[in-house]
Symmetry: C3
Subunit: 347 residues, 3 copies
């Protein structure tokens, strides 16, 4: 696409969303304009990520994308925690995890697979991701199992201990994957083509685009809540699906674009890396941050949320284990996503 | 075995079973004669399948066998649904799934393994089967988790949505495995020996044998119910074990015969392909078909049934993952089958 | 270390522990002296095992170690069963399983991984271990699922049937791994260095060290119970963590020593082999042995214990599947161990 036209569309959509947000009262219009802006901003973010990925290698690029993609969610969740709306926080954490491992990964694998017969990536990385996701599921599962037996204050202490362990494990994972065993996890794919921008410009683009995505995401989330209340959707469905889908739009487009360029390794890294970061870093950070406020948040998720996370992780691990993907595996991931989405909708 | 003697035995056993069914009142005799007929018919079906498999390649042969093997069960379940005996339908679906992944696969692997030190098959296929079975388990598991929270009518709608998704996924799987990625899943084994009949005769044999199996299976199921009531067996045990074992006798003998000829790939395809077809096609079809009758059937299985399916699938995936089998893996599968069977018996 | 000094330290620590046990009343001193003796005895056992492993091959060495390591636990559990303290027996069985698959394996992998970038072992063995552990989990899981529905006497009968199946499966596993498919599971690592003692002396050392460990373990367990009651620890925590950690000290040091000598295959064999033996042999044997006493013990574990065993097995399988380990995988195993330990502590 023409570069100038691209930036013109982004600018126009953001101005339109800002105008609606500050001057219009109609929530439907606010919702539509913010969604539109997010779509273009996410495309921009995707391009910037791809360009940075070119310079940094697929994996670091994927890691950066996962970080910036989740920055928006972390900010939104922070304000929800401050307001004490813990159910919505947990629903959106659940939604982000399954949105990444099922929807983002599913779409990437499906569209990549429609273009290429089989796409390969570093299977060793898939193994580590599987073990880390298992740790995340275990960490969320244990307090829920013990909930019935323990008094609330002990659940709170247990939550803090688990949150600290998860953050330590995540930091050690970064040391492992970026320092001590960097070359183990390097992607075997070859870089191809020319990036859109120079290294410095790419990084600036990535940062600026992320900031815009975060700002507009917040407008969007605000209006989507009102819109969804009007439509009578459950909190679990709104937090777990509507917010998560829109909040992860950046990852969606970036991952799918990479998959369609046969960089499935980077797409997998975005999808699974992002959900790992949410389970092992964002969720425990929110538990610890909540200690600063009047009502601390525990780490106990509902049975529905745990079932969704466990089931999503299980099928993603089953599919990614062999380090190769094809269109049918995308179908499987999306099938599970739709089944869980339908169940959440009906609650 | 002498061909003429073989057909003589089949003919005699079927005539005997038919005579008992139409003219005798003693259920024990009916049961024994029908069982005898099924054993010979199943052997015939095994021979015919093997012969067709020779012409069609192991995988297609296995697929055909799984289809015809389940035709009998689909017919039986259809009448049970019509009568509104949903508990028995679900117990027999459960029994067919675990009967295939544990008993049929276990016997094949055990007997094949006693003859050959190690038997190999297409490990890639095992990976897909694992992912598909996981989808099946998830699809049956989700509505059960949400059951307590939802009103009955919503469970019904959720069941229909899940049934449609499963059938779509199964059709896409057939497109994937038989059209777009056919060569990926082809078995690496070499064909050996001469088939018993020509291609055309083999196909006719397969069809005719299947029809006979279906007819006699129904007689058998009829008498086994009365016999089991006399013996005081629980519905879960009768549906899940007695019916399932007899209804899958065809797969048993065919799969074990193939395994003992070192065609373990075809045996695995029969066992796992058959259980996939039941979970992803037969079960959802029965849910949709039930809409035609007064009382529609939902897709909610009992905790025992889900535990049995999940556990059976888990151990089968664990064992088949490496694309190689030996006698001890057969022991493991059969151990789990006996444990579940004992538990079902005591309920 | 100087051989003479080594034996002097062992002798001194055992004499000190014996003196405290028979002549002192202070439980804290008894506890400290017994712990000290165990540490030296375990080091001795480790040296002896290593030496025997040199002659017998890593796998048989690991198997012997696992057997002798669990002899102590079997004796302790026997007396607990006799006294009818079933909750403590089950807690210590749970603790031994997760202590082996999480703590022993975690420390071995972590310390081995800090010394060597990547350590490899026979991946095929890992696959069998995974399937066997799955059988163990299934066997403990099934009766718990059915518990609510069944009368107590039927649970008892079900327990006996499951116990017999597990023991048969374990015996067949020994035949498989030591007789019919011995060479399949042989470790690919090369032996290095000279053993400390001759073959005969090594075996005698192994036996004598094991006897001493068992005797002192019992003193230790006796005093630790009183110490822990003074400190207000829960039965689940004492049985599942304190007893299990001390009772498995022998495996700890032996496995970690082997891992640090790059014999990770033997370390994995000790850790997983030991937990397999507890799940498939020690636990069912105790169920059968309990029939000799007034109150028979069933095989129904609590939800917490099952969750701990399932979760520990899951992460251990996930990590060992690829037949290679590194320090971060040790971190993951230990993280899960600490999370479960914290939860048990708070109950």
């Amino acid at each position: 696409m023409n570069k100038r036209l691209f930036f013109l569309l982004i600018g126009a959509s953001v101005v339109l969303a800002a105008f609606s947000h500050y001057f219009l009262q109609n929530e439907i219009i606010r919702f539509i304009t913010a969604s539109l802006a997010i779509i273009f901003l996410a495309a921009w973010l995707g391009k910037a990520t791809e360009s940075v990925a070119h310079y940094a290698g697929n994996r670091i690029g994927g890691f950066l994308n996962a970080t910036f993609g989740n920055a928006a969610e972390l900010i939104i969740a922070f304000f929800l925690v401050k307001e004490g709306n813990f159910d919505m926080v947990k629903a959106s954490i659940t939604g982000s995890i399954i949105g990444n491992v099922l929807l983002v990964l599913g779409l990437s694998v499906l569209f990549g697979g429609l273009k290429f017969k089989e796409q390969k990536f570093n299977g060793r990385l898939a193994g580590y991701n599987a073990s880390l996701m298992t740790l995340g599921v275990v960490a969320l599962f244990i307090p829920a199992v013990f909930l019935g037996e323990l008094p609330l204050e002990r659940i709170q202490t247990l939550s803090i201990v688990i949150a600290v362990i998860l953050i330590i494990a995540y930091v050690l994972w970064l040391i492992f994957s970026l320092v001590t065993h960097k070359e183990f996890l390097a992607d075997t794919e070859q870089e191809e083509g020319e990036p859109l921008w120079s290294k410095g410009v790419s990084i600036i683009m990535l940062i600026v685009a992320t900031v815009f995505v975060a700002v507009v995401s917040e407008w969007l989330v605000h209006s989507v809540e009102i819109v969804s209340h009007t439509l009578g959707w459950s909190e679990l469905f709104v937090g777990g699906f509507v917010i998560a889908i829109i909040g992860n739009a950046a990852e969606h487009s970036a991952a799918v674009l990479l998959a369609m360029k046969n960089k499935i390794g980077a797409a997998v890294e975005i999808a699974i890396g992002s959900s790992l970061q949410i389970a092992l870093f964002v969720a425990p950070t929110l538990v610890l941050v909540s200690l600063l406020f009047e009502h601390p948040m525990n780490i106990v998720f509902s049975v529905f949320e745990l079932a969704a996370i466990a089931v999503g992780t299980l099928i993603a691990i089953s599919i990614s284990r062999d380090g190769a993907t094809n269109w049918f595996e995308g179908v499987l991931l999306l099938s599970v996503y739709i089944i869980i989405g339908t169940a959440f909708y009906f609650v």
